[in-house]
């Protein structure tokens, strides 16, 4: 296997995200694909539709604020550290953004339907609410063909392309994620039509990934691009690598709040940085190495279960006679005499 899907952030976005695409936006309150968000803004992609269940730290808020998005399907969006989705609020007020609301499990079920390749999925929530009333694009109530009762169904979400951040990936495109990995990355990513762009904290050898394949959430055949990108989820957290940068999220959020100020943030932290490494360098210059050091996680929680993915070789049956006993033999012989089987 000579595949090598590694490329730069710039190339991955230029090659695989097109104006007008529907994008699965990975992560949840942690593992937000921020480096990819910045690059999409840098390349001034337009008219994107996003699907996700919930997303924090204002990643999607600045993507909307930068004018890249025309439509969002979501259960929950904000920058929790300033308690609002300011740019999204403004874009909606100005009629520049269509918003389709649904519950978290509604969104997750929409992506599970996409993952399964079926057109819709029944769910128990959303009925009786204004989400159902205002979002017939995603939610409908139908008759359960088995019981005749009413049941809410959610339309399958199948993005054109998925963007996610993970702890590790290999050059083939196997994506390793563990612990809290967003709500729906495995479903949103696998349900995408063209495939997945992943940023990863570390690139490891395929042999290493294959030693623990239970942790692979996206297998290589589905992956379009692998970008080695330390701090790729900053200011959101990446389990085992860094915690949430509350102070930076608040700082960014105070820019999100004001229509006049947000472009200044984008100029400095997005357009003004060649890539994500430059963004992190700027961070260190402005807020000090201590800012990054503060995000160090408490480690020492390696699995204690002794797991061995061993297998059994059926070659051991070669030459082994059939097991039998007198009772079985007598029965089979009597049956054969009668011409039975």
């Amino acid at each position: 296997m000579n595949l090598d899907k590694r490329m730069t952030l710039k190339d991955a976005v230029a090659k695989f995200i097109h104006d007008g695409d529907t994008v699965y936006y990975g992560g949840f309150q942690i593992m937000v694909p921020m480096a990819l968000t910045h690059e999409i803004i840098r390349q001034k992609k337009k008219n994107l539709t996003t699907v996700e269940s919930s997303t924090d730290v204002g990643g999607l808020d600045i993507l909307v604020g930068a004018g890249c998005v025309k439509e969002i399907h979501t259960a929950w969006i904000m920058n929790w550290y300033v308690k609002a989705p300011y740019a999204i609020r403004r874009a909606f007020n100005e009629g520049k953004l269509k918003r389709y609301d649904i519950s978290n499990f509604g969104a997750t079920s929409a992506m599970i339907a996409g993952f399964l390749g079926v057109p819709f999925m029944p769910i128990l929530g959303n009925i009786g609410t204004d989400m159902l009333k205002h979002n017939p694009t995603d939610l409908q109530v139908i008759k359960d063909p088995f019981t005749g009762e009413k049941i809410t169904v959610v339309r399958a979400w199948r993005a054109d392309v998925a963007i996610i951040h993970a702890q590790k990936a290999d050059r083939l495109g196997n994506v390793v994620s563990y612990g809290s990995r967003g709500v729906t990355d495995e479903f949103g990513a696998m349900g995408s039509k063209r495939g997945v762009i992943v940023t990863a904290e570390e690139i490891v050898e395929p042999e290493v990934v294959r030693s623990d394949p239970d942790r692979v959430i996206v297998p290589y055949f589905k992956t379009l691009a692998v970008v080695h990108c330390p701090w790729g989820a900053h200011p959101s957290a990446c389990r085992g690598y860094y915690g949430l940068d509350i102070r930076f999220s608040q700082y960014q959020g105070r820019y999100e709040r004001h229509a006049e100020l947000l472009p200044k943030f984008l100029d400095e932290w997005v357009y003004g940085c060649e890539d994500h490494a430059a963004y992190i360098k700027k961070y260190v210059n402005k807020f000090g190495q201590a800012g990054l050091d503060r995000l160090k996680p408490v480690l020492g929680f390696k699995p204690k279960l002794d797991v061995d993915y061993g297998y059994h070789d059926p070659a051991c049956w070669k030459g082994v006679p059939m097991y039998t006993d007198d009772r079985l033999k007598a029965y089979e012989e009597a049956l054969a005499k009668k011409g039975g089987k």
Partner: protein
């Protein structure tokens, strides 16, 4: 057990709310204050509580650190299962969650919750978006009973919410049943002023307890409809020094409690 002399109303709200959780119950914990309440309940009156998080961790033990987000790594470290939201939400739909524990921005007299926004949604220029449902809708639809926690003022406690994100009793008795909801609906609301329950017949929220320093009149003034008051309304017991100490150990920087 001496009564604490100095505490914040958010702290009393948290401590009082935790007492609504019975030991051994499966509690589906939503974003925000419920995370602190659940950690406090596990440290005090409900050590055998089973904690389900929206991010998808299932825990028999209290988290090692305060969860800032619902999928905070701290909520996953040392969990009993971390299968993801699919597992915890599926348990809700199977009817296995005793308590759906949520916050919200606005609540009305039938316990309907709005976390989508205020204004008229059909006129985009006149609607101010909040974050959206998150998992609250799923939790309140299918949890056996709903426990809600939210700071109180007359803009938050309204006669009718601008947008129903999360169903309470909708427009009154029988509505949930008509729509086939498997959960029982709102049972208790704890605010920064008092404790509310719901009339079994009318499904309307009424005041059951008022916090020390608050009064029925003051609370009625912080409620946009003509709030009914239980004839047995009582003053909530003030927290003890010990309770405050435990709580401040859980949220040492005042991230949630101010």
């Amino acid at each position: 057990m001496t009564a604490a002399s100095n505490y914040k109303l958010t702290e009393l709200m948290t401590i009082r709310c935790a007492k609504e959780i019975k030991d051994g119950e499966v509690v589906f914990v939503g974003v925000g204050l419920p995370i602190v309440v659940a950690a406090y309940a596990m440290a005090t009156n409900a050590p055998n509580m089973i904690m389900f998080t929206e991010g998808g961790a299932i825990r028999a033990t209290a988290p090692l650190a305060l969860g800032i987000t619902v999928d905070d790594p701290a909520l996953f470290t040392g969990a009993d299962q971390t299968f993801g939201m699919l597992a915890t939400m599926a348990a809700l739909q199977r009817g296995e969650c005793d308590v759906a524990f949520i916050g919200g921005a606005q609540i009305d007299k039938f316990g309907n919750i709005n976390s989508s926004g205020v204004g008229d949604w059909t006129k985009p220029s006149k609607f101010t978006y909040f974050a959206g449902s998150g998992g609250a809708n799923d939790m309140a639809t299918s949890g056996k009973r709903v426990l809600a926690i939210m700071p109180q003022d007359a803009k938050k406690f309204v006669e009718k919410v601008d947008y129903i994100t999360t169903p309470g009793y909708l427009s009154g008795p029988g509505e949930r049943e008509k729509l086939g909801m498997i959960g029982g609906g709102p049972d208790c609301v704890v605010s920064t002023m008092g404790v509310y329950r719901f009339d079994k017949k009318t499904k309307e929220m009424y005041l059951a307890e008022y916090f020390p320093g608050q009064s029925v009149d003051k609370i009625k003034a912080s409620c946009a409809w003509n709030l009914k008051v239980s004839p047995k309304v009582v003053e909530t017991t003030a927290p003890t020094e010990e309770e405050i100490k435990v709580l401040r150990g859980i949220d040492p920087t005042g991230f949630y409690l101010g």
